[in-house]
């Protein structure tokens, strides 16, 4: 059967709703979207290629600069990979500090994702609340690591700086504030009639489709896939981590899941802080030089599983590296399953943003 297409609608690369350049091409009939395709390549820099032949102290910064939104997890997964290659032990205090920074980063990333979504569906009040709360979280990151976004905190064998006692108190107070504020925002989000209209039953992707498209992270967990790479992480195992799963498969579920993960992150950080109290005065760096070997390791980024495959030479310089980021699967799932059959062209950007695409991660 020949498809009857009214308009081929390109959105982007520079579009008010997008933080990054990408182009969605939609074939529409009336308001209905028949098919969609994501076109990329606007920010391809070839980072993996320039990582080759460099020591960890340079690759670490390049890894961080694959994505500025989830920079800490890139740093963490790369460093953990080289640690596993060269059997470097991490002191227990440093492990908990890593989790704290990683969860703070996840919080700011989720807040930003939900901000983008609320902004896209034109609920600007909630969007502004969320991005203002993100400032509080970023402040805590700055307090611990000294930088707002590209923190460069995790290094082989430990972390850069210790957490001071007075900073731990500030962090606790900020967490209380975040918890209070987020519960308020969740209420706004749950009760808003406009939000429900734009989010519920929009952009549906079933569990089977998730498995077929290999989508990851919150996008998959909002459709009932019970998996999170943090389950494999030794420190998270110590913290009794359990993933959160929702089953309603739509935009609403994806945003709600991120809100729920925010609470979970807060709990994780609190637990870490409690355990750190008993570890005062312990070392935060174990030393150890990066050696020769090859390893593949996956961590849970705010958007899903992030995999690094690294091969190093005798002096610890990277010989081969490949990075797999979750966004590529999420965007694929978004274009081929969620957007297909969307009822209105206005939903295209909302659905796209709800899967939290990160184009820098994708293209590197």
């Amino acid at each position: 059967m020949k498809k009857v297409v009214d308009v081929s609608l390109p959105i982007g690369p520079v579009h008010p709703c997008f933080k990054e350049p990408a182009r969605i091409k939609c074939e529409t009939m009336g308001e209905k979207v028949l098919s969609a395709e994501v076109e990329m390549g606007y920010v391809k820099k070839g980072i993996e290629k320039i990582m080759v032949g460099r020591p960890w102290q340079e690759v670490m910064f390049l890894a961080e600069r694959i994505c500025g939104i989830c920079s800490v997890i890139h740093n963490m997964v790369f460093i953990e990979t080289v640690e596993r290659i060269s059997d470097i032990e991490v002191p227990i205090r440093a492990q908990y500090l890593r989790v704290i920074v990683n969860e703070l980063d996840r919080m700011q990333s989720h807040l930003l994702a939900n901000y983008s979504y609320c902004y896209t569906i034109e609920h600007e009040t909630l969007a502004m609340y969320l991005i203002n709360l993100r400032e509080t979280v970023v402040d805590q990151l700055e307090l611990i690591t000294g930088a707002r976004i590209t923190c460069a905190y995790i290094i082989p064998g430990g972390v850069r700086f210790d957490l001071r006692d007075e900073d731990a108190e500030t962090l606790k107070a900020a967490l209380d504030k975040c918890e209070k504020d987020i519960s308020r925002f969740v209420k706004i989000f749950e009760e808003g009639p406009l939000i429900a209209l734009r989010s519920k039953d929009v952009g549906i992707i079933t569990k089977e489709e998730i498995i077929a498209s290999q989508a990851a992270g919150p996008t998959a967990r909002a459709s009932g896939v019970d998996f999170d790479h943090r389950l494999n992480h030794p420190t998270y195992q110590k913290l009794d981590f359990k993933p959160i799963v929702l089953n309603s498969c739509d935009n609403y579920a994806r945003i709600m899941l991120r809100f729920k993960e925010l609470f979970q992150s807060i709990e994780l950080i609190r637990e870490c802080l409690k355990r750190l109290e008993g570890l005062k005065g312990e070392t935060i760096r174990g030393g150890g030089e990066v050696g020769e070997g090859e390893f593949t390791w996956t961590g849970e980024a705010p958007r899903g599983g992030l995999t690094y495959h690294v091969k190093t030479n005798r002096y610890g310089h990277v010989e081969e590296i490949s990075v797999q980021t979750p966004s590529i699967m999420n965007m694929d799932a978004c274009a081929h399953y969620m957007l297909k059959g969307a009822d209105s062209a206005a939903d295209i950007t909302a659905v796209f943003i709800s899967s939290d695409p990160c184009i820098s991660c994708n293209e590197r």
């Binding site: 020591p55 340079e58 000294g146 930088a147 430990g158 700086f161 760096r285 002096y315 610890g316």
Partner: protein
């Protein structure tokens, strides 16, 4: 009607108008713990070049000789990414940025670097450029010239019996000058850094 008057009354107050038109968020300050561009502390630089060796980006930091004949690191804005590694690596605390110095003193942490010279004998064509260009070699044996043969046994490397031999790899400061001047990329300098705490 009544409500409109009420609103008008509310909005016509000078205070409200002033607030509406001139409200500003309080001036924002950069917190002291923010890692800004590294600043000089005024301590004397011993020209060990550890900052230059650890810096992850090209051309961000150079140690230059000032007019008074003293060495001094210079940070280039637009290149430096404010990572603070140079502050941590400097053995003389010449640079400072945010709380890094202070925190490192509390934690007793530092970064140590070692350098390894590797020559690919298949690629090397014994031109001697590397040995001539090496600033350490030049200091040890100023007479080392174009064919890079030297009678001095203290040099890092020299050409002997038409073979490039490395004598003292431990003297290398990791500057990569040799790597850059080699026409064949036959010599490689590996900078290896270890993060330690005592």
């Amino acid at each position: 009607m009544f409500s409109i008057i009420c609103y008008l009354k509310e909005f016509l107050r000078a205070e409200w108008i002033k607030k509406f038109l001139f409200a500003k968020t309080p001036p924002l300050v950069t917190p002291p713990h923010y890692r800004d561009f590294p600043q000089l502390t005024g301590k004397e630089c011993s020209h060990e070049l550890r900052c230059m060796m650890i810096c992850p980006v090209p051309d961000a930091i150079k140690v230059l000789k000032g007019e008074d004949g003293k060495w001094r690191p210079v940070i280039y804005k637009g290149h430096c990414l404010r990572c603070g590694l140079c502050v941590e690596a400097c053995p003389d605390n010449v640079l400072t940025s945010g709380r890094i110095l202070e925190q490192n003193e509390i934690d007793r942490t530092s970064l140590l670097g070692t350098y390894h010279l590797v020559i690919d004998n298949k690629l090397c064509m014994k031109c001697g450029n590397c040995s001539v260009a090496c600033p350490i070699n030049k200091e040890i044996d100023p007479r080392l010239a174009h064919n890079a043969t030297s009678s001095n046994d203290d040099v890092i490397m020299r050409i002997k019996n038409s073979k490039l031999t490395i004598l003292h790899p431990e003297k290398c400061t990791g500057c990569k000058t040799c790597e850059e001047t080699c026409p064949n990329r036959a010599i490689r300098v590996y900078r290896r850094v270890e993060a330690v705490q005592d």
